[in-house]
């Protein structure tokens, strides 16, 4: 148990140390003091609405990362989250503004619609993969681009768009379909759907750890042949996991739309999907890890503005994010190899002695 704990803590520690080193070098190269830069970033959190913004972004990133993690569990790389959440948000905004329903039920229906639309957008790569053997990475990348085009088309003023001020958007969602946030006055408003992210993470954790479906998903990811021998239908698992992943991805845009914008606008945020992939890698597909990863990501994203004050281009935050992800995957690989070597040494020692081997090997695990 202690060995397991050590290896699960060693890797993130190694990764953070390594990426901190990389970022420090990058900061030094651009002529800034790393400690000072970190100081102003942390100091920035206390200003204005930054803290609340970080909480809100964390929730959005968590949803995106959970969508990515569901795919990763099965060795599926759903790059299409970007397109799925865009389509989900757009369809939900259009449907939500047209419906007349009592409060609560209204936004619940909107959430379901968003999720279904995201899943539907993920259905095509799933079908292509299962029936035609098209790699999901390529088909989802292409569908991301098409989603951008489709969204731009559907928001045209002769389709579903209307002009509000200088911005084209869909019809606003009526009051009954909006989700109240927690108001902190000058500090901003925490989206009500932050709790949705927490709930999805909890459900994800339970399903993965405690249900047959989660077990089959992980089994198919780790060894497709073993899973098939155990009676798992690989094609069905591919379709289901991509659909679930797309369904969660469809929710990514919802905190912003139901909590702040109340419509899909032309400048709807892009890039959450790719961030989600990075965060899922960072959190090793574990719900708690994903929560911390999202928090770190949101902190870097929101606090990077402060870097301008110390004369560092804020884009360095993107380098930090990229190098953290890369260090994490490398660190996990190194630790995995160290564990494997240690295990081999231990077994070698056990077999080398003339003592009864089974008892020791079996007993050590418990």
């Amino acid at each position: 148990m202690t060995a397991k704990l050590r290896s699960s803590l060693l890797a993130p520690a190694l990764a953070i140390a390594f990426s901190a080193l990389l970022c420090a070098i990058a900061l030094l190269a651009s002529g800034a003091n790393p400690a000072e830069a970190l100081g102003v970033m942390i100091g920035h959190v206390g200003k204005g609405q930054v803290a609340v913004d970080i909480v809100n972004s964390t929730a959005i990133y968590m949803l995106a990362a959970l969508a990515a993690a569901i795919g990763f569990q099965m060795n599926l790389l759903n790059i299409g989250i970007e397109g799925q959440y865009r389509i989900g948000a757009l369809v939900a905004a259009i449907v939500g503004s047209a419906l007349v329903l009592p409060p609560v039920l209204h936004w619940l229906v909107i959430l379901v619609v968003a999720s279904l639309a995201g899943a539907l957008w993920a259905l095509l790569p799933a079908i292509l993969k299962v029936t035609r053997g098209v790699h999901e990475v390529l088909s989802t990348i292409m569908l991301n681009a098409v989603a951008f085009g489709l969204a731009a088309y559907l928001i045209r003023r002769d389709m579903f768009g209307i002009l509000i001020g200088n911005n084209v958007s869909t019809e606003p969602i009526p009051e009954s379909g909006r989700v109240q946030g927690i108001d902190f006055g000058d500090r901003g408003t925490v989206f009500g759907l932050v709790f949705l992210a927490v709930a999805v993470a909890a459900v994800y954790g339970v399903v993965m750890q405690r249900t047959r479906f989660g077990f089959e998903l992980k089994a198919s990811g780790e060894s497709p042949t073993a899973a098939a021998a155990g009676g798992v239908n690989a094609k069905k698992m591919i379709v289901v996991s991509l659909l679930v992943s797309g369904g969660v991805a469809g929710l990514v845009g919802m905190p912003e739309i139901l909590g702040r914008d109340h419509a899909y606008t032309l400048n709807f945020a892009a890039g959450y999907g790719f961030a989600g992939l990075g965060i899922a890698l960072l959190g090793r597909n574990h719900p708690v890890g994903i929560a911390f990863g999202s928090l770190l990501w949101a902190f870097l994203e929101k606090a990077k503005v402060a870097l301008d004050n110390v004369g560092v281009p804020r884009e360095i935050a993107t380098i930090m994010q990229g190098s953290i992800v890369l260090s994490v995957v490398v660190a996990y690989e190194i630790v995995k190899r160290m564990d494997l070597a240690a295990e081999q040494r231990r077994v070698g020692r056990a077999l080398g002695t003339a003592e009864p081997v089974e008892a020791e090997v079996g007993g050590d695990r418990k």
Partner: protein
């Protein structure tokens, strides 16, 4: 295609598995493909009255936009033939665009190409270190490199280009390659094109686009295609490199240094993607680096490679297809892109005839249904919504992948982790 029924004595069933009929050599298939494509386009252009489909301007745009995709595809061939999946091509291409603009500012277009290659190769080196040395999942490392490539370029652009161009997203314009035309051939072809005669003018337009205002970038690219073929398929080094992609453990047992070959392949892959980025910078007018310039072309290059069955000639065909779809949008309006639907109907019709002849009834049926559906679309609409135009190559990629994916054969050990000395 006359070899279809050249199976001698098929009534005498003595062998359980008759030997596969001889296939046409690759260059012949390639030429037939070119003729068929030109024929379909010429017919479409004639029937729909859209000369822009085969104008020399369209062809020039095809070349300008196809070259970056082709270079990325070549990069994909190098990496994947050695068994390394390289999703990071996009990030390496982005690095290449920055490197090209920076090099071009200091030393003209040739330095731009070189510096683009070096920046792309650095991205490739990072991918190689992560995947070959540390055994990280290839796709995961590729995704991280795409993130990192975009971040590093944005940062460097802010740091270096903003003081010069007053814009964090663009570089100042760099010197372009001097273009040249094969005269008097070009003028003669232009005259022929302007006469608007069926087929002849179409061929003249397409050829004319290839020989007028030719950039040295095209020459470099063609040399790289031929070079890739010669190195990978006609040299000892290439044989070893490909053996790492087919069965690294067997290669190791024969004394091949698998790590070394994989490193070379991935670094080379990055360099080619970087040159692709340089081609993008030099091909845009004015030639500048701008943020988001690559617009997924690295991924489309990967699709072109798959379309081309992991071979240089096929990748060239795929890149031409995607470059054409992109170039047509620039040189002509939405109406002309709409005429592509008509071309798709004709292609599907040809496919039906071909499948009927091969007695593949089911495929023929599917193709016929497809043709009817696409014709319905064509008939029902006048032009494609402009919002979809930039995504024509993406949609074509999807269709092509869906139709072609099962007839392809990727390298056997593509993406499979390999550790030295762990084979049984």
């Amino acid at each position: 295609m006359t070899t279809a029924d050249a199976r001698p004595g098929s009534s005498v069933v003595t062998m359980p598995a008759p030997p596969r009929r001889r296939k046409l050599p690759g260059w012949a298939i390639f030429m037939i493909g070119v003729v068929a494509a030109v024929g379909v386009l010429a017919t479409t252009s004639y029937l729909t009255g859209r000369p822009a489909l085969t104008s020399s301007l369209t062809m020039q745009n095809t070349v300008t936009l196809g070259v970056p995709i082709l270079l990325a595809g070549l990069g994909g061939i190098w990496a994947e033939r050695s068994g390394m999946i390289n999703i990071g091509l996009e990030g390496m291409m982005v690095l290449g665009t920055w490197g090209a603009a920076w090099g071009g500012l200091h030393g003209g277009p040739w330095v731009a190409v070189l510096s683009g290659a070096i920046f792309g190769a650095l991205g490739g080196l990072l991918h190689a270190i992560a995947t070959v040395t540390f055994g990280v999942n290839h796709i995961v490392s590729g995704v991280a490199i795409n993130l990192l490539g975009a971040g590093v370029t944005k940062y460097l652009a802010m740091l270096i280009f903003e003081p010069l161009s007053q814009n964090p997203r663009d570089s100042p314009p760099i010197e372009q390659f001097a273009t040249f035309s094969a005269q008097p051939l070009g003028d003669w072809l232009a005259d022929l094109e302007n006469e608007q005669r069926a087929v002849i003018s179409d061929v003249a337009g397409l050829l004319g686009g290839l020989v007028t205002r030719v950039s040295p970038m095209l020459i470099i690219t063609i040399l790289l295609v031929v070079g890739t073929y010669l190195v990978l398929w006609r040299s000892r080094f290439g044989l070893r490199l490909r053996s790492c992609g087919e069965n690294p453990i067997a290669a190791e047992s024969l004394g091949v240094n698998v790590y070394f070959h994989k490193y070379v392949a991935v670094v080379m892959s990055g360099a080619l993607a970087g040159i692709g980025g340089a081609a993008l910078v030099l091909g845009s007018s004015p030639s500048i680096y701008s943020e988001g310039q690559t617009a997924n072309r690295g991924f489309i290059g990967l699709a072109a490679m798959i379309f081309g069955n992991w071979r240089p000639g096929g990748t060239l065909a795929g890149a031409t297809l995607f470059g054409y779809a992109d170039g047509l949008r620039l040189s002509a309006g939405p109406g002309t892109v709409h005429a592509l639907l008509y071309a798709a109907v004709i292609s599907a019709g040809l496919l039906v005839i071909w499948q009927l002849w091969r007695r593949k009834w089911r495929t023929a049926m599917l193709a016929a249904v497809g043709a009817v559906v696409v014709y319905g679309l064509y008939y029902a609409s006048d032009e494609l919504p402009t919002q979809f135009l930039p995504y024509t190559p993406h949609i074509i990629t999807l269709v092509v992948l869906a139709l072609a994916a099962q007839r392809l054969r990727p390298p056997a050990a593509n993406g499979v982790p390999y550790r030295r000395g762990e084979g049984d």
